[in-house]
């Protein structure tokens, strides 16, 4: 049986960035820029979160001659996971408030 280890801080930051607007689907690049993660750190986190069912990935067909893009959205399990965590720091609440307003 696979153990579910606690998520790292960057992984929780990714979940929180997605939770800022749960209805919005996000591209990997945008998400990485928002939480200040480079591709080498971002993709292993996205894979781990998707494996644990905390985010949902879907495909957006690419324009002519370009490959499709992955879009990410917080899942119901991801929302429950975040709700069970301690409240986010004041700095993150402020960022989240600025983004949502």
């Amino acid at each position: 049986m696979r153990r579910n280890r606690p998520l790292s801080t960057p992984a929780i930051n990714v979940l929180r960035a997605l939770a800022a607007d749960p209805s919005r689907r996000r591209y990997g690049c945008d998400l990485g820029a928002e939480v200040h993660l480079k591709s080498g750190s971002l993709y292993p986190i996205l894979v781990r979160l998707a494996d644990r069912g905390l985010l949902e990935a879907s495909w957006e067909p690419g324009p002519e001659g370009r490959p499709p893009r992955h879009l990410y959205q917080l899942s119901a399990a991801g929302r429950e996971y975040l709700a069970a965590l301690l409240p986010p720091s004041r700095e993150w609440r402020r960022t989240s408030w600025v983004l949502s307003s």
Binding site: S39, S41, P44, G62, P67
Partner: protein, 307 residues
């Protein structure tokens, strides 16, 4: 010269194993890449992804294609390549176990040779010992790396391990009487069991998988396992018997060998043969097993058309 040939052969095998595979249902990296450096780098790294992670490789390509800045493309591709190389498969349990077993077998092979060198230190005084040891170590590292890549690529671990064990058993049961009773033609017939077993292993791989790539990977993985197990058995036997029983050729050549005693000479001689087998067995077995898998894949199955 021999070391160079072996090195080139192992390097070619590594390149062949690490080449990006074509996967059904997922556009291949070549189809998505415009052909610049970052795309080629990402294409190679995505090729090393486990089969169940292929969509993530496609997702990385999707983002790379949105970037126009060359520096940004390089940074993104390098990061993704690092992530792809180390991204574990979802079937991590069986794959990781198989990779660890192969690594442990390779380590045991190195340990046996190290023990024999400690027990018979005069072997180290021979001029060609160090180059041979360098090649031997490179081969073990390469086999471990190839096995790790193969188990990440597809469902090869269980079938490959079972086939490898069976092949090693056949090589040992059929090969040892031939070595000890070389003059008897009846024993030579036993050698036929080796290609038959390899063909059967290939056919078993074909029954387990519908794709040619996975069949080849199972054949190669089982051949590596067989090669390592045969070396372990042969080298263990050499150490237990001090290279004996000594044949007429060894007794004849020993006085001119410069070795201090017959046991050192025989252990040195037999370990050299075991190292040759470590190269020969996987190469021969993989070739025959791949042929067997190809033949079995063309045979019609009940209720299916030949693939």
């Amino acid at each position: 010269m021999g070391a160079l040939v072996v090195g080139l052969a192992v390097a070619a095998l590594l390149v062949w194993v690490a080449r990006p595979p074509r996967r059904r249902g997922v556009p291949g990296p070549a189809a998505m890449a415009p052909g610049d450096g970052p795309s080629r780098l990402l294409g190679w790294a995505v090729g090393a992804l486990p089969a169940d992670r292929a969509p993530w490789g496609q997702a990385m390509f999707g983002e790379l294609h949105q970037m126009d800045n060359r520096r940004q493309r390089w940074r993104f591709a390098v990061g993704c390549a690092g992530a792809a190389v180390f991204l574990p498969s979802r079937r991590a349990d069986s794959a990781a176990l198989a990779a660890r077993l192969v690594a442990a077998a390779a380590l045991a092979c190195a340990g046996l040779v190290a023990y024999s060198l400690a027990h018979y230190p005069a072997i180290l005084t021979r001029g060609n010992t160090w180059p041979v040891l360098a090649v031997f170590t490179s081969v073990l590292v390469a086999y471990t790396a190839i096995a790790a890549v193969l188990v990440r690529r597809g469902p090869v671990a269980r079938t490959g391990l079972v086939s490898g064990l069976a092949l090693a058993a056949v090589w040992i049961v059929a090969g040892l009487p031939v070595v000890s009773q070389a003059s008897s033609p009846a024993y030579s017939l036993l050698l036929l069991a080796i290609p038959i077993a390899a063909l059967t292993a290939g056919a078993a791989a074909a029954r387990r998988s519908g794709t040619a790539a996975v069949r080849q990977q199972i054949a190669l993985f089982s051949a590596l396992v067989a090669g390592l197990l045969i070396f372990l058995t042969y080298a263990g036997d050499i150490l237990l018997t001090a290279g004996g029983p000594y044949d007429a050729g060894q007794l004849r050549d020993f006085p001119g060998s410069g070795q201090p005693d017959l046991a050192t000479y025989a252990v040195n001689d037999s370990l050299g043969s075991a190292m040759m087998l470590l190269l020969l067995v996987p190469a021969v077995t993989a070739a025959i097993a791949s042929t067997g898998a190809g033949i079995a894949a063309r045979l019609p199955r009940h209720g299916t058309s030949p693939s």
